[in-house]
Symmetry: C2
C-alpha cells in the first residue's frame, strides 16, 4: 500500500489530475502539487476546494520546483513523503523527474514520452532513446515506473491488450483513432501545449507494418472513420508514442495511429510549418535576438486551459484491433466517448485535458492498492487492463466495445 | 548643381539605387553607401563593379553607420562631401536621416513614410505626424527634401499630377493600382522587408472619399482590374503613403490605393494575422523571453533580395484618374510595366526593388541638375512630373498612357 501523491506540473492536465486525486484522497493520502510557478499550483488547489472535490479532509499543498533538476525533485519527494509521483509537466522534464523517483524509491507515472528541446521525432522506437535505458535500474531498485499512462498513450495501450487477450489467438493489426469532434470557438488553438502538439506533427511519421518501421509525413495518409457517437470523421496517420511500445510488444501486428483534423487546422498548420514557424531550431532576428519560432507561436496561441469554459462536443478515442480467433478473422473496436462540457462542469477543464488527466490518477490508485505496483518500469499494455478499466469506469472514463469492429455490437467492456 | 551621393541602406532597393547611381555617376559625382553592416555595402559595390556599371571612373565607398543617430549621419555627410542623400534604409530611420540632412544642408530623398517601431497606421494624413512637421525648417534652411520618391509612393504621385494637368480642368478621383503578376517560386515571400510589408496591412486602411477620411480593413474591399500586359487582376483597397499626400493636395478628388493579391497570399496573411504573429507588440514566451512576433516571422521568411535570380513575370502599376474637361467626363490611365527578369539581368535585383529603386535616382539626377532642387520639402506631386518622366524613360521605367482610361488608346506619355 503506497500513499501520498506529488503532482508535477500545473497546466490543464494537472488541473484534472488534482481534482481526481482530491476525489480519491481517501485512497491516495496527502496531496502535493509543484511547478516552476507556485501561484499556478495555488490556483489549482483553490479550484479543487471551490468544487468541494476533497473526498475526506486532508492536506493539499503547493510547492515551487525546477523539475529539470532531479536533485530538487528528489528533495521535494522526501520533504512531502510522497510515495507516488504523477508527472504531468512538460515532456522536457520527464527523465529528470524519473531520476528523482529512482533516487527516492517513489513510484513514477507520466503521460507522454520524454523529449529533448532541440530534437524531434528521433529514431524509433522512441522509448528506447531515453526511458527504457532506465528499465534495468528501476528493476534493480524495485521502483515502479508506468510510462505513458494518459489516454493516448495509456488507455489505448490497455484497449489493445484487452482486445488481443479477450478476442484473439493472434493479432494482425492495431489502429488507434483519436477524434476530437468538439468546438472551442477560437480561430485556432491546440488542445494541449502547442509546443508539444506541433512537435508531434513536424517530423517523420513512424508506423509499424510488416514487421518493420515505415515512414510517412503528416497529412499524407488520411482515411474516413465511421465512429460511435461522433459519426464519420477524417483522420490522418500521425506519429505517436504508443506506436513505439505496442510495436515492440506486438511485433507481429501492424501498428498505426490516426488523428482527426479539420481542413482549417490543416491549413493553419501547413502555413505555419511551410514558413518555418513551427521549427524548434532558433532563428536570429534582424536585431540579433535568438528565438525559437515555435515558442513564439505558443506565446501567441490561446492557453489550452482557457478553452475549457466554452468547449462543447465530444471526443471518441479507440482501437480497431484485427486478428484471428479459432482460425477465423475477427475484429473489435474498444473505445471511450468523453464530453467537453461535462468535463468542465466536473473539474474545470476541457475534454482533452480530462481524458489525459483521469488515467494517471487511475494508475496511481492501482499502485496505491497494489494491483499495478510492478516494482519495475512498464508500458501500460504490459499491465493487466481489467483493474484499470474498472477504476476508469468509476472515475469518469468508461470503456465500451464494438464486437465485430466498427458498426458492430456495442456493449460495456465487462457486460 | 549639387553632386556626390550618399546612399543609406543596403537591402534590395539599395542595390538598385547603387547600380543606377553608378550608371549615372557622370552626373552624380562621387558615390557612397552606408548601413549598419558595412559588409553588405561592400557586397553591393562589388556587384556594381562586376556588372561594369560605373559610367565614368570615380569613387564608390562603403561605410558603417547607425542611421538612427542623426549626428552620426551628419558626420558621415560632412566626411563624404555628399550633397544628396538617398535614404532607402528601413522606414524607422527616416526622420533621423532627414535631421542629418537638415543639419548639413544636404538634399534628402526617401521612398517611404517614416514609421515608429511600436505604432502602425497612425492618424491620417500620415505625413503630418512626422515629415511635414519639419517642412518649415527645411524651407527656412533651404534644404531640399523629396518625400516618397519611389514608385508607389513616388512615380504614381507624378502620374496623378500629370493626368490632372494634361487631361482635366477638374479631378474627381485617383485610383492607384499596383499589380505584381510575377512569380518567385517560393512557398511564401514578401517583395520587400516583411516587417514593413505586413505593417502596411495589419492596421486600419484609410482612404479619402467625399472630402473626408474613411476607414476599411485589409481585403474587405476588392475589385477586378483589366490592365495592360498583365490582364485581369484582383486588387484590394490597402493603406498606402501616397493617399495621404494626394488627398491633402487634391482634396476635391477621391483617393484610393489598390494592391493585387492572390488567394494564397491572402490565406497566409490571414492565418498569420489571426494568430497574432504579425503583431508589432512584444509577447512573452513561457521561458520569459520578450519577442516581437513580426520580427520572428521576418526572420523565417526568405530575404526579399534572394528572390531575384528566379523571379519571372511583370509588374503593372498605374493611376486611373477621372475628372472633367470642358464639361465632359474624362478618364486616363497612366502606368508603367516592368519585368522581373530584365531587372535582375541589369542590376541583380527583382522587379519590385527595381521599380522602387530607380525613381529616387531619377530624383537625385533632377536635384543634381537643378530641375527639382526645391530648397524646401516636397511630395512628388508638388514637383513638375515631365522632367521626372524624361529621366525615368532614359534610365529604365518608361511612362505610358491609356487615353480614355482602361481599354483606351495606348501611347507613350510624350507621344
Amino acid at each position: 500500500m503506497k500513499k501520498n501523491v506529488l503532482i508535477i506540473g500545473a497546466g490543464g492536465v494537472a488541473q484534472v489530475v488534482a481534482h481526481k486525486c482530491a476525489q480519491n484522497n481517501d485512497i491516495l493520502g496527502d496531496l502535493h502539487i509543484a511547478s516552476r510557478t507556485k501561484s499556478k499550483c495555488d490556483d489549482i488547489i483553490a479550484s479543487v476546494h471551490e468544487k468541494g472535490a476533497m473526498k475526506v479532509d486532508g492536506p493539499f499543498q503547493a510547492h515551487a520546483v525546477d523539475a529539470t533538476d532531479s536533485d530538487a525533485v528528489a528533495e521535494l519527494i522526501r520533504k512531502t513523503g510522497a510515495e507516488i509521483v504523477i508527472n504531468v509537466g512538460t515532456a522536457f522534464v520527464n527523465m529528470h523527474v524519473l531520476d528523482g523517483c529512482i533516487a527516492t524509491g517513489a513510484a513514477y507515472i507520466d503521460t507522454a514520452i520524454h523529449e529533448e528541446p532541440d530534437k524531434i521525432c528521433e529514431t524509433p522506437p522512441w522509448y528506447a532513446n531515453y526511458e527504457w535505458k532506465k528499465r534495468d535500474l528501476c528493476a534493480e531498485k524495485g521502483v515502479t515506473a508506468i510510462l505513458g499512462a494518459g489516454f493516448d498513450p495509456g488507455v489505448v495501450n490497455a484497449f489493445a491488450r484487452f482486445a488481443i487477450d479477450e478476442y484473439m489467438d493472434e493479432v494482425k493489426s492495431i489502429d488507434i483513432v483519436d477524434i476530437n469532434a468538439g468546438s472551442h470557438g477560437k480561430y485556432f488553438a491546440t488542445n494541449f501545449d502547442p509546443e508539444i502538439n506541433f512537435r508531434e506533427f513536424t517530423g517523420v511519421v513512424y508506423y509499424w507494418e510488416d514487421g518493420q518501421w515505415k515512414e510517412t509525413t503528416m497529412f499524407a495518409s488520411g482515411r474516413d472513420w465511421d465512429l460511435p457517437v461522433v459519426g464519420s470523421q477524417r483522420a490522418y496517420q500521425s506519429g505517436h508514442d504508443e506506436v513505439h511500445s505496442l510495436a515492440t510488444n506486438y511485433p507481429e501486428a501492424d501498428v498505426r495511429f490516426w488523428m482527426g483534423f479539420g481542413d482549417h487546422y490543416i491549413n493553419v498548420f501547413t502555413v505555419l510549418k511551410n514558413i518555418g514557424l513551427l521549427s524548434e531550431q532558433p532563428v536570429t532576428t534582424a536585431e540579433g535576438q535568438e528565438v525559437v519560432p515555435l515558442k513564439v507561436v505558443k506565446a501567441c496561441l490561446p492557453d489550452p486551459a482557457s478553452l475549457a469554459p466554452n468547449y462543447t462536443g465530444k471526443t471518441c478515442i479507440g482501437d480497431l484491433v484485427k486478428g484471428v480467433k479459432d482460425g477465423e478473422e475477427v475484429e473489435v473496436f474498444v473505445y471511450n466517448v468523453a464530453d467537453h462540457k461535462e468535463a468542465y462542469e466536473e473539474v474545470g477543464s476541457q475534454g482533452i485535458s480530462y481524458t489525459a488527466g483521469v488515467p494517471p490518477v487511475a494508475a496511481a490508485i492501482l499502485i496505491a492498492e497494489g494491483d499495478w505496483d510492478a516494482k519495475t518500469m512498464k508500458n501500460v499494455e504490459e499491465l493487466d487492463p481489467k483493474p484499470f478499466f474498472t477504476v476508469l469506469d468509476r472515475i469518469g472514463l468508461p470503456t465500451r466495445v464494438l464486437e465485430g469492429g466498427l458498426g458492430g455490437t456495442d456493449k460495456a467492456w465487462n457486460a
